[in-house]
Structure formats: structure tokens, C-alpha cells
């Protein structure tokens, strides 16, 4: 199993029946493929739909139905579409149970940076700031390092997406829960030892007793 699949599978376990979930562009999008079809999870896309689904086959695309990246999607029976204000009302108003977002950095305070790299990359925040500020639960799904550099750091050097503490970080090495006072190491990936995780992390991790392996479905 490659890193991204591992991350997506582990995140999928966080999603419970009846949940309204928004998956960010990139890695988080993969999560949808690892949710059982009978899980009764509603995926929202911030461009205005609850009940999005992958297009079943070529030739069934509609130019009026895409995800937030502009890629064709389909809709489940019982889907609903609406304008951007309503879409972000669902997000900001606490109706969204979970958002899964990619990250450039997460720090000791659980602060996420994922929308710009000053001087090089200025894509813009899109819906990320609203998602992190408003969702009931924020899960960051990202690789543990980028080009060998740790992405979990003591203090974000990059501009923050929100000052709200995220709820969970899932990487190919570990599951980490930001808590009052620091980052709690909850799980390690199958076959990965603590030293490997600590070596790839640029801040101290809180470790309480035994750290179990990730359950992965």
C-alpha cells in the first residue's frame, strides 16, 4: 500500500454514518474511495452540493456538475445543490461534521498552514480558511515530510490558515492529536517505530504509554 492510500484509508475510519464531510483537493479526495458504499456518508463540495459521488463511467459527465476542482462528479439520489452562501453556511455554521484538508505545516499549537508560501506559491486560500474555522472536526491528511523536511513543526513558518486548533493529523507514519499543551502521538503506521516518527518530526511529540499501530480497513 502506498503512503497516500494508507493515509486515505486511515482517515476513512474517522467518518461515521450520517456525517456531512468535505474533502479538500488533492490527497483528501482519495478518502472517498475508501469509505464503504453503505456508510451513509454525505460528501459536500463547497461549490454547492451535498451528496456528491464519483462519475460512474466516461460519457456521463455533466458540464454543470463538478467538484471544487472543476472535475466532473455525479450525485447520489437525495443529493441537494445550492449557492455558495448556503454552502459556506453549512461549513461555518457547524453543520459540517468533518473536513479533511491537506497541509503544508502543522505546529505544536495544532495550527495549520496550507494556503501560501510567501515568495513562491500564492494559490490563495479558496475555502480552506472557512473550513478550518467552521467544521466541527478538522482532520489534516498529509505526508509526514516534504522533500525530507518535517511538516510537523514547533511553530508554523508559513502563514496560518486559522488559529483554530485542528483535531487530528494523519500521515503515512503516524496519527497525531493536537491537544492543550502539544501534539499527542496516538498511533504509528504498521511496522513504523517511534524513533522513525520522532526523527521525521521537528517538534516534541507527547507519548502516553504504549502507542498502538493504526487500524486500517
Amino acid at each position: 500500500m502506498d503512503d497516500k492510500t494508507l493515509i486515505a484509508r486511515r482517515v476513512a475510519l474517522e467518518l461515521q454514518p450520517g456525517y456531512l464531510v468535505n474533502l479538500g483537493i488533492g490527497l483528501p479526495t482519495l478518502v472517498a474511495s475508501h469509505v464503504p458504499p453503505d456508510a451513509h456518508i454525505f460528501f459536500q463540495s463547497e461549490n454547492g452540493i451535498v451528496g456528491m459521488q464519483a462519475v460512474p463511467e466516461d460519457g456521463l459527465e455533466s458540464e454543470d456538475l463538478t467538484d471544487a476542482a472543476g472535475r466532473p462528479i455525479s450525485a447520489l439520489p437525495g443529493a441537494a445543490t445550492f449557492d455558495s452562501a448556503m454552502s459556506f453556511g453549512l461549513i461555518r455554521g457547524g453543520h459540517l461534521d468533518v473536513t479533511v484538508l491537506g497541509g503544508l505545516q502543522v505546529d505544536n499549537d495544532g495550527h495549520l498552514a496550507n494556503w501560501m508560501v510567501p515568495g513562491s506559491l500564492v494559490p490563495g486560500m479558496g475555502g480552506a480558511m472557512d473550513l478550518v474555522s467552521g467544521a466541527r472536526r478538522v482532520i489534516v491528511a498529509m505526508t509526514h515530510t516534504a522533500k525530507g523536511e518535517p511538516k510537523i513543526v514547533a511553530k508554523c513558518a508559513l502563514p496560518l490558515t486559522s488559529i483554530r486548533r485542528v483535531d487530528l493529523i494523519v500521515t503515512e507514519l503516524a496519527v497525531i492529536e493536537p491537544i492543550e499543551g502539544g501534539l499527542l502521538l496516538k498511533e504509528r503506521a504498521p511496522g513504523v517505530d517511534l524513533a522513525t516518527i520522532e526523527a521525521a518530526t521537528a517538534t516534541r511529540l507527547i507519548i502516553c504509554g504504549d502507542v498502538p499501530e493504526m487500524p486500517v480497513r
Binding site: 454547492g48 454543470d64 472543476g70 450525485a75 500564492v122 490563495g124 479558496g126 496560518l160 490558515t161
Partner: protein
């Protein structure tokens, strides 16, 4: 009372330097014929308020590529490298606004509100230059209303009076923008007789629409 107008005549009403709201999300729900005609008539020095600048060659991306835009107010430019290039070269000003805040700012402009208080962006770069208000011990940003001289709207259907419906995720910012501009120009995919759209199905009431683009010149 006659609202129908050919595409050339509609675009001729837009002066150089105009401030335009343009519906759509990554090109989906963007009034494509209006965009093409603006390029053809070479309207210059435009300000564009929209969710994004789409991709090169798509929707608003065509206006960027034709170098007709001096300033954009958008939630992201990450999908259009040409916008980023022009920004770095100093040829285009980019104001990035969180997507949910952008939706509320446009709505506030159309709904006669002096602004809204949002948690999105508190403690981030987005806070710069903004008033904050504390409500119940929690800090919120005051996001001010946005309006434009013209709103260019893509609709699924219009009736002869100008009542509009939208399709699936092509709705997005269109109904919000139809409230927030001095002059509203709608490009419907289909025009139907009065009564063919039931009152409950109207998303934008006819009284908001100034011009309706006909199928032909």
C-alpha cells in the same frame, strides 16, 4: 420593459475600467458567451470579482490571457499560472478573500448590510486592515460588503420576464451576484415563456435582471 438584448449590444454597455462580478466556479456556471464577447470587443482595465480565475483558456481565464484585467478579487488563483505570472510581474492586482467570506461580502452588498462578522481569518493575514468586533468574548472580523457596476450571470433558464433558474453546481455565486450589481446581465442556456418557471423554482426574481442575452445577435 424589454430586457432582451443581443450579445454585442449587452457587452457594448460595459465601459473600459468597469468593475464586474462574474458568476462561476472554475468556469462552471460562468457566462461563456459574454466572456468571449468581452474579449472580442477588447474591454480593458477591468476589475473582476469572482470565485477564481479558472484555468488558462477557460472562462475568466480567457480575460486574464487577453490581458484585459487589472485587478481581481477572488478566493484563489492556484489553478491559473497565467494569473500568477501577471501578478508577479505587477500587471494585475490580486486581492485574495476566503471563499465563504467572499460569498457573504457579495451577499451583504446585495442585501443592504453594512457587513458581516465572521470567525474566518481571525489571527491570519486576512485580518490585516480589518475592524474586529468582540461578541460574547469571541473575536470576529468585520467583512465589508462588495458591489459591482455589472454582474454577468450564467443561468440554466430564464423566462421572458427575466426570472432565472440555475443548474446543479453551476449555481454557485450567480444568484448572490444578481443582487449585488447596478446592472445585471443574464446569459441563460434557454429562454422559456412566462409561467414556464413556477414561482417556487425561481432562484433570481425577474426584478433583479436588467438584460437577458438572446440566443442570436
Amino acid at each position: 420593459m424589454r430586457k432582451t438584448v443581443g450579445i454585442e449590444e449587452a457587452v457594448a454597455k460595459i465601459p473600459d475600467g468597469a468593475r464586474l462580478m462574474i458568476g462561476g466556479f472554475m468556469g462552471v456556471g460562468t457566462p461563456m458567451r459574454l466572456i468571449d464577447e468581452i474579449v472580442r470587443q477588447q474591454k480593458t482595465n477591468l476589475t473582476v470579482i469572482a470565485n477564481d480565475t479558472a484555468r488558462p483558456g477557460v472562462g475568466i481565464g480567457k480575460l486574464i490571457a487577453a490581458r484585459l484585467v487589472r485587478r481581481v478579487v477572488v478566493s484563489h488563483i492556484g489553478t491559473n499560472p497565467e494569473t500568477q505570472r501577471q501578478m508577479i510581474a505587477g500587471d494585475i492586482d490580486v486581492e485574495l478573500v476566503p471563499q465563504g467570506s467572499l460569498a457573504e461580502k457579495i451577499r451583504a452588498g446585495g442585501y443592504g448590510l453594512g457587513g458581516v462578522l465572521t470567525p474566518t481569518g481571525v489571527g491570519t493575514a486576512v485580518e490585516q486592515g480589518k475592524q474586529t468586533v468582540t461578541v460574547g468574548g469571541k473575536i470576529f472580523l468585520v467583512e465589508l460588503p462588495v458591489r459591482a457596476e455589472f454582474a454577468l450571470i450564467n443561468a440554466r433558464r430564464a423566462d421572458h420576464l427575466g426570472n432565472l433558474t440555475y443548474a446543479l453546481t453551476a449555481r454557485n455565486f450567480n444568484p448572490l451576484m444578481a443582487m449585488a450589481a447596478d446592472t445585471v446581465v443574464a446569459e441563460p442556456q434557454e429562454i422559456v415563456p412566462v409561467g414556464a418557471i413556477a414561482p417556487d423554482d425561481v432562484a433570481t426574481p425577474s426584478v433583479l435582471v436588467d438584460y437577458l442575452i438572446t440566443r442570436k445577435h
